[in-house]
Assembly symmetry: C2
Homo-oligomer: 324 residues x 2
């Protein structure tokens, strides 16, 4: 399929996703910030389940039920936010859910998964083996695997963030988005490329987890050699997914990917809490860190830079230690 | 003037305030909460200067400039949020501002006041003598005193919160608001009584600062004997103002005032940060504390209870110690 007809089809799918998930997720506000006149903030921390992941999870689970009404249930692997979101969507859809979570993730995320009645699998799970374990469970138990990012339904659900940003500020100059596996940014980039090609979509990674930046800059898929030592636990995936690579690198829908240090991330987290008054998790502060360090356009009142604060499921003790 | 024609006049003034301050303050979102299906949240912590006080301050300062274009400047006394708001409004209006602040208030509030170029008077200032000191400065320096709550312009500015709540949820069953001097709740009550008399307006105080509750329940103005030992520094005023008493007690526009303990306030503060993902100050958690302890109606999807989170100018070390 030619890129232009693919683009139209993706946009149609994102609009269908918005219809499908509308009754179940929150239309988050776009907030202007005292921090700078050219800055607008999209707080997906205020989304249902505390992160943007609810959008992709509801789209994937509800689409699955439309296609396969007799499906037994779903399984996924997640550092926590996608897991909570799939558990919530499965509960709403009346499906059972099994969530594979690496040992040691934020307790609030584990509690969230349990609160939605999902089965948690965590013993012996690492960032390395989690995908394989989830695939095995899917095969043995006959469950549908909802991949956290390399899945078009998940990508199109996340793309609804892009639709909402352009509804609220059609003249946005740039939209800045964290990248882990690339689900959120590829959805947003598909929406924005189709509707507002002059708006730049820019990704942000921790400097110690810069696989997507290297993939974009080299034009070939790059992976991380080891678990990255970053506070941003939501973006620890070893590489972006194949579908995400197709959007971000293959179709060139992301104009740049920048990186921030751990200290810069902590400064941004504090700024989010103290200046924006938004209680976000470290991963959620990546785009603000890129903004505050001048690595993305500062924006103007006419063409603001929009940063996506991706999630708010923080560990209270960790954040307390960073606030003092 | 009969109560009904006074009510119409107050509503007209609140609508004028909305027009006057519209370009300068933020239209805060109304957010539904995962916490309960009948709960909606009005986060004035996201307001310009970090609290609802920007509404009253901009209305008072801009009205003053309309009436007295050659006024020399303004002075006020404040535990911090009203001071920041007046400093900001005066800077926008090109007036000089002097802010009288008790010693020991949250450093972030003092920094905020200074950041807007205002003169800070703090040495020897207490919650007891602050009003007298501000009145002296007004007299000696020929400045206009913008009272933090006992001022119709301030009350009508705060009333725009009520207009916005009813725009977003016309069928609100109850609106729950913190009370210090009574500026915010009297403005909101005037708007809601005029537009939606079936919506209850309910106040919340710390149990150790229950002067307004006692005033309402006895029908006579009650005052606190000493500085109350509460984390909610925004509601430490000794009594409500005369104009506020007229609205709250005289015209019976507030249906009840409930109280919460300090432990209940801390639980609510944690819930605001961790479940609502909103970084608020202790005073801002009063209405949530009343909700979580069942002292106000739980609301329904059709007739939700709306709680106002009044401000987000917290002390980072204090909140860190409460979050751990």
């Amino acid at each position: 399929m030619a890129q232009s007809s693919r683009a139209a089809e993706h946009l149609a799918q994102i609009r269908q996703a918005a219809q499908r998930i509308g009754p179940h997720v929150r239309r988050t506000p776009l907030i202007d910030a005292d921090v700078a006149p050219g800055l607008m903030v999209k707080p997906e921390s205020l989304q249902r389940t505390g992160s943007f992941k609810a959008r992709g999870a509801f789209n994937a689970v509800l689409s699955l039920v439309e296609r396969e009404p007799r499906v037994a249930g779903v399984v996924t692997h997640s550092s926590g936010n996608h897991g909570q979101a799939v558990a919530c969507a499965a509960q709403v859809a009346g499906l059972r859910a099994t969530i594979v979570v690496p040992e040691g993730v934020t307790p609030a995320k584990v509690e969230g998964i349990r609160s939605f009645g999902a089965t948690l699998v965590s013993d012996g799970v690492t960032y390395d083996n989690r995908e394989r374990i989830a695939e095995e469970i899917a095969r043995i138990e006959g469950l549908h695997l909802v991949h956290p990012y390399d899945d078009w339904d998940v990508i199109h659900g996340a793309g609804t963030v892009g639709l909402e940003i352009l509804e609220d500020v059609p003249s946005a100059g740039a939209v800045v988005v964290p990248i882990g596996g690339g689900g959120q940014i590829s959805g947003i980039a598909l929406a924005i490329a189709a509707l507002s090609p002059s708006t730049a979509v820019i990704g942000v990674e921790p400097v110690v987890a810069d696989d997507a930046a290297r993939s974009l800059h080299t034009g070939a898929m790059q992976t991380l050699a080891t678990d990255p030592a970053t506070l941003a636990e939501g973006v620890k995936s070893k590489s972006i997914g194949n579908r995400n690579f197709e959007v971000i690198v293959g179709d060139s829908l992301v104009s740049d990917i920048v990186t921030v240090s751990e200290d810069e991330l902590i400064d941004a987290l504090r700024a989010a809490w103290m200046r924006l008054k938004l209680a976000i998790e470290p991963t959620g502060a990546l785009a603000l860190a890129a903004y505050l360090t001048g690595r993305v356009p500062s924006g103007t009142a006419e063409h603001p830079t929009v940063i996506v604060l991706s999630g708010g499921n923080f560990d209270s003790a960790q954040v307390a230690s960073l606030l003092v």
